[in-house]
């Protein structure tokens, strides 16, 4: 028998092992839910699987009585639009600021401490300010996401740019490049793979800020819905919504990873 530290799962057993916790949680849920519903058929805490089906049919397939819309899809579209705008703006801002500060020591001396301080302000603490300044509409939600993650991305990119071997920067200059071209042809391409990683890492925070903002002031959105139906203890809606958000987050993470491998083949082989 080999030592535990040397045991590697086969492909199949790795897959089974990965599925196991999900299956266990599922059955634990069904068993507990059944037990509770047997004791009290009106229990709302752990609804049966059939209740989830009915709730989702109501939310996703039946037009709402008030507006005639399919609420689930409308919520998803609104949330994804806010998230994409916020993350997209943050990625561009973070890249531009990070590359500039990383590549130009003179600018970094002036702005690095400022960006570092900005990134230390808890974004939720300034949410009221955002509501006051930008109103309760879409803008304040997007700005919250940007405020929350752009400084983190910028600092990450700045760090990556500083890690670029000095030799490469010197080399580019000996090939006749000016500052702008060094940044364009050397620094930027070398920093881009890190941007994908930085976005992947900050997606979790982006969701957090999105849901928080939606919970406080919105008329639709996944976070808005969850906090709205909480008043009626509607676990049959909340749990599928949470599952859906998790799935979306997972798909984005995988998608970004694939995109990174596609766009930067030179990196995949060196890793």
């Amino acid at each position: 028998m080999k030592r535990l530290i040397n045991l590697q799962p086969s492909r199949l057993s790795a897959m089974m092992l990965a599925l196991l916790p999900f299956v266990l949680v599922f059955f634990a849920y069904v068993a507990t839910s059944n037990a509770r519903l047997e004791a009290n058929p009106n229990d709302k805490l752990l609804p049966a699987m059939t209740s989830f089906g009915e709730a989702m049919e109501r939310m996703a397939l039946t037009p709402s009585k008030r507006s005639g819309e399919l609420l689930f899809w409308r919520d998803s579209a609104s949330s994804l639009r806010r998230l994409a705008t916020g993350v997209g703006v943050s990625a561009v801002l973070g890249l531009v600021i990070g590359v500039t500060l990383g590549a130009l020591p003179l600018l970094a001396a002036g702005l690095s401490p400022f960006v570092a301080s900005l990134s230390l302000i808890p974004p939720m603490a300034i949410l009221p300010i955002l509501f006051i300044v930008f109103g309760l509409g879409e803008l304040s939600k997007v700005v919250l996401i940007v405020f929350g993650i752009a400084p983190v991305i910028a600092r990450d990119i700045q760090g990556r740019v500083r890690e670029i071997p000095r030799q490469l920067i010197v080399k580019a200059q000996t090939l006749g490049a000016n500052t702008w071209v060094v940044i364009l042809r050397v620094v930027l391409p070398l920093a881009l793979p890190r941007l994908i990683d930085a976005v992947r890492l900050t997606l979790g925070s982006a969701w957090l800020f999105l849901i928080a903002a939606e919970a406080i002031a919105a008329t639709d959105g996944l976070g808005y819905r969850i906090f709205l139906v909480r008043r009626y203890l509607a676990m049959d809606v909340i749990l599928p919504y949470v599952l859906w958000i998790t799935l979306l987050a997972y798909a984005m993470d995988r998608g970004l990873r694939l995109l990174g491998r596609r766009l930067f083949p030179w990196q995949a082989v060196s890793a």
Partner: protein, 259 residues
């Protein structure tokens, strides 16, 4: 070297880091077309001197003249370099790495060439790659190349901009002895073909003798055992070597590059 104008002339150059004197009273003069090998103990300041020639570090005292005028204190296209590592750009293919030298210089706005200019540059880059025997690997990324191939790529990339001075900092230090011998032939051939002026740092005295027309030894003339940083190095030996033309060296460049 009387009669020639010196390409590089260092006069009474000093360099200190903190209270550690690295170089002191360093004088040397290199004529156009020479192949100078620099040897010396580890930490004696060879790389520091090379960085000064690149324009990365200013001397604390003294003067370095490049072609008779004070050296431009910033890396530029007149002086090219091959480092021991990190000389090639990991995000560009072999062809892209060589093409880059032509693109960066000719296109100050985008750093890229298009259309006919690009086709012409591509042709020149492929010619250069053929000289170092890498034309078959033009589409590969550096991470897919062996150490020897990476250094050959670095040479091609440096030479495409036709530098007045080629600086080499232990370019073959990380290579196997067999590959190193092939690289020596290649460098000697390129040196003659392109009429280069070369300054090469090496830890391998044999390498210096094999390639150089001149050998510099950097060393300290004074040593204070109580304070190892109190005195710096200078050129303690300056040996003219037999011209490599005299040696049995095949001039068929592409054949030599088949390492």
């Amino acid at each position: 070297m009387s009669g020639h104008t010196a390409l590089i002339e260092a006069r009474n150059v000093w360099k200190t880091y903190g209270d550690q004197v690295v170089l002191e009273r360093l004088d040397l003069s290199i004529a156009e077309g020479e192949f100078c090998a620099v040897v010396g103990a580890s930490g004696c300041g060879k790389t520091t001197f090379l960085r000064m020639l690149l324009g990365e570090e200013p001397p604390d005292r003294g003067q370095i003249l490049f072609d008779g005028t004070p050296l431009h204190m910033e890396p530029d296209a007149g002086r090219s370099i091959v480092f021991q590592r990190y000389s090639v750009f990991p995000h560009l293919t072999v062809l892209g790495n060589v093409l880059l030298g032509l693109e960066l210089r000719q296109s100050p706005l985008l750093g890229r060439l298009f259309g006919g200019a690009r086709r012409y540059a591509r042709g020149k880059a492929l010619e250069m790659l053929a000289q170092v025997g890498l034309d078959h690997a033009q589409h590969r990324y550096p991470s897919e190349l062996s150490g020897g191939m990476q250094q050959r790529l670095a040479l091609a990339q440096s030479l495409i901009v036709q530098p007045r001075l080629l600086l080499l900092d232990e370019p073959f230090g990380a290579l196997d002895p067999g590959i190193r011998a092939d690289m020596h032939k290649l460098v000697a051939a390129l040196w003659r073909e392109h009429r280069l002026t070369v300054l090469m740092i090496t830890h391998d005295l044999k390498e210096g003798f094999a390639l150089g027309t001149r050998l510099f030894v950097f060393d300290k003339v004074r040593v204070d055992p109580q304070a190892p940083g109190a005195y710096g190095s200078r050129v303690t030996y300056d040996l003219p070597l037999k011209r490599p033309e005299d040696r049995a060296l095949s001039a068929a460049v592409p054949a030599l590059a088949m390492a």
